[in-house]
Symmetry: C2
Subunit: 301 residues, 2 copies
C-alpha cells in the first residue's frame, strides 16, 4: 500500500513548518505570521508570511490542501480528465533586504484525480540573484544535483533543462535567474515508486533552507549603495513580469478564482521600472544581465 493523500498532506504541512523554522533561524529577527483560510468548494490552507526581517524583507511559505469538483477552468487550463481533484503543496518566495542576497523560490505539489485513479507530483527550486556570483550559482546547482542523483541520475539534467525553458522571459530575452530544477506530471512512469517520488519532493523541501543559508552566508556584505538598491528593484520588476505574465501557477490561480493574497505573496515589497534602461558595459549589472541572456552549463560533480 503506497502513501495516502492524507499522509502527503500532513507531511507537506510539517515541511512548511520545518522550512519556516529554518528561515527564522537564518533571519535571526523576524517571525512568520500564520493566516489560516478555507476554500468554499473544499479544503483550505495556512499562508505563512514574514516581513521586515534582518535578512528577509518580504517572504511567504504557503501550504494548501484543496479538493472538489474539476471546474471548467481547470479542465481547460490543465487539460484534466476526471471529476474530482485533490491538490496539496508548499510554495515559497523570499525577497531579501540586501541586493547581494538572492531571491529564492520553491514549490512542491501533489495532485490526484478521482481518489487517486491518476496522480502526479510536481515541483521546482530556482535561484534569482540580483548580482550573479558564478561560484554560488554552481553551488546551488550542485546541491540540486546531489539531492536529485540520490533518486535518479536522469532527474537533474532533465529538470535543469526544464527550468531553463520554464523560467525564461521571451519578451526580455532573459532567464529570470540562474535557474534550478522544474518538473511536473512525475509519476511511476519515471521508474520510481509513488513513495520514492514523494520522498524526493520532501528532500527538495528540506534542502531549501540549507541552500538559502549557503547563499546568504557566503557573500561579504557592505551597506548597499543606491545603485545596488535600484538594480535590485529593477530585477524585482522582472520577477513581477515573470509571475504575472508567465508563471502557470500564478495565472491559473488568479484566473480560476484562487485566494489572491496567497497567490500574490510572491510579489516583491518594492519594484521599479525604467524605460530603455542603459547599463555601463563594464558594470556588474551588465555582467549579470549578460549571464541571464545565455543558457549556462555548470561544472558539477
Amino acid at each position: 500500500m503506497s502513501i495516502t493523500r492524507t499522509e502527503i498532506e500532513k507531511a507537506f504541512r510539517a515541511l512548511q513548518l520545518h522550512i519556516c523554522q529554518g528561515l527564522e533561524d537564518i533571519d535571526g529577527q523576524a517571525k512568520f505570521q500564520e493566516d489560516p483560510w478555507e476554500r468554499e468548494e473544499g479544503g483550505g490552507g495556512f499562508t505563512r508570511t514574514i516581513s521586515d526581517g534582518n535578512i528577509l524583507e518580504k517572504g511567504g511559505v504557503a501550504f494548501s490542501a484543496v479538493h472538489g469538483p474539476v471546474s471548467a477552468a481547470m479542465k481547460k487550463q490543465l487539460n484534466l480528465e476526471g471529476e474530482h481533484f485533490f491538490a496539496t503543496g508548499v510554495s515559497i518566495v523570499l525577497h531579501p533586504r540586501h541586493p547581494r542576497h538572492p531571491i529564492m523560490h520553491m514549490n512542491v505539489r501533489y495532485f490526484e484525480l478521482d481518489n487517486g485513479a491518476t496522480y502526479w507530483f510536481g515541483g521546482g527550486i530556482d535561484l534569482t540573484p540580483h548580482y550573479v556570483d558564478l561560484n554560488l550559482a554552481t553551488d546551488f546547482h550542485q546541491q540540486l544535483k546531489t539531492t536529485s542523483d540520490h533518486y535518479s541520475m536522469d532527474f537533474y539534467p532533465k529538470f535543469k533543462e526544464w527550468a531553463d525553458r520554464y523560467f525564461f522571459l521571451p519578451h526580455r530575452g532573459e532567464s529570470r535567474g540562474v535557474g534550478g530544477i522544474f518538473f511536473d506530471h512525475l509519476d511511476e512512469e519515471c521508474g520510481l515508486s509513488k513513495d520514492q517520488i514523494f520522498q524526493y519532493c520532501l528532500d527538495l523541501g528540506r534542502l531549501f533552507p540549507v541552500a538559502y543559508k549557503h547563499q546568504v552566508e557566503n557573500v561579504s556584505l557592505n551597506e548597499p549603495t543606491d545603485a545596488e538598491l535600484n538594480w535590485q528593484a529593477l530585477r524585482r520588476g522582472r520577477y513581477v513580469e515573470f509571475n504575472l505574465l508567465h508563471d502557470r501557477g500564478t495565472k491559473f490561480g488568479i484566473y480560476s478564482g484562487g485566494r489572491t493574497e496567497s497567490i500574490l505573496m510572491s510579489m516583491p515589497p518594492r519594484a521599479n521600472w525604467e524605460y530603455n534602461l542603459e547599463l555601463n558595459e563594464a558594470s556588474e549589472e551588465q555582467q549579470t544581465l549578460a549571464f541571464l541572456q545565455t543558457t549556462q552549463e555548470y561544472k558539477l560533480d
Copy 2:
C-alpha cells in the same frame, strides 16, 4: 471617398506631438524624449517618454503604424479573418509624482484588414486617482460625455459601461480607477461615417491634455506624507497587476513579440506590495478602496 489609412496615420502622429506639447506645458519642467523604432515585418513607431518632471514622474506617449501578414497569434487572439493587416494608434500612460495627482491612460487606434475590406476604430480614456475625489471624477466623466454626445448620444452610456467591465480586476474585486470610456470594433454600423468616427477619436485625443490639466490644477497639494507615498505605490502595484494580467493590448503585444519597451512604458517607476494590507476604516485610503469596489453612476448634464 472616405479618409485613407495614410491620412489616419499622419493625423495620429500629429496627435501624439500635440499631446506631448500639452503635457510638457502642464509639467513645466521635463521634456519628452523620442525613440524611433522599426518593425521587421513592416512599419514602426515613435515612442516618446518623459521622466523626473515637476508633475510627471514617468510617462509615455507612443505612436505606431505597423502592417504585415496576419500571424497565427493574431488570428487566434484577435479572431481575425484576413491576410494582411494595418494598425495605427496612440497610447498614453502617465504616472505623476504626487499621490494627489491621478494616473491617466488613453488609447486610440485604427485597424484594417486587406487594404480596408474591413476596418474598425477602438479607444478609451480612463482615470486612476490614488485618492478618489468625487467632484474630479465627475468632471472627468462630464468631459467624456460632452465630447461623446457631440457624435452620438449612445456613445457615452455604452462606452462608460464597457470601461466599467474592462477596467475591473476580478481577483481584487476592484476597478482600477474611476473608469472612463472604452470601445472597440467601432465602424459604420454605429450610424456614423468612417470620417466621423475618426474625428471622434481625434477629439478624444485632444481632450486628453485638457482633462489631465483639469485634474492637476484642481487639487491643493501639500508635501506628500510617507503614508500617501506608500499608498500611491500600492495603487501602482494594482496598476501593474491589471496591465500584466488583464490588459488585452499589453498581453497581445508581449505574447506576439511586440516591442517590449514600448508596451511596458505603462509600468510605474515604483510599485509596492504588502501581504493582506489592513486599512483603518475611517482612513481616506479605505474610502478610496470602498469607492473602487462599487460601480459608480455619476450625475452628469
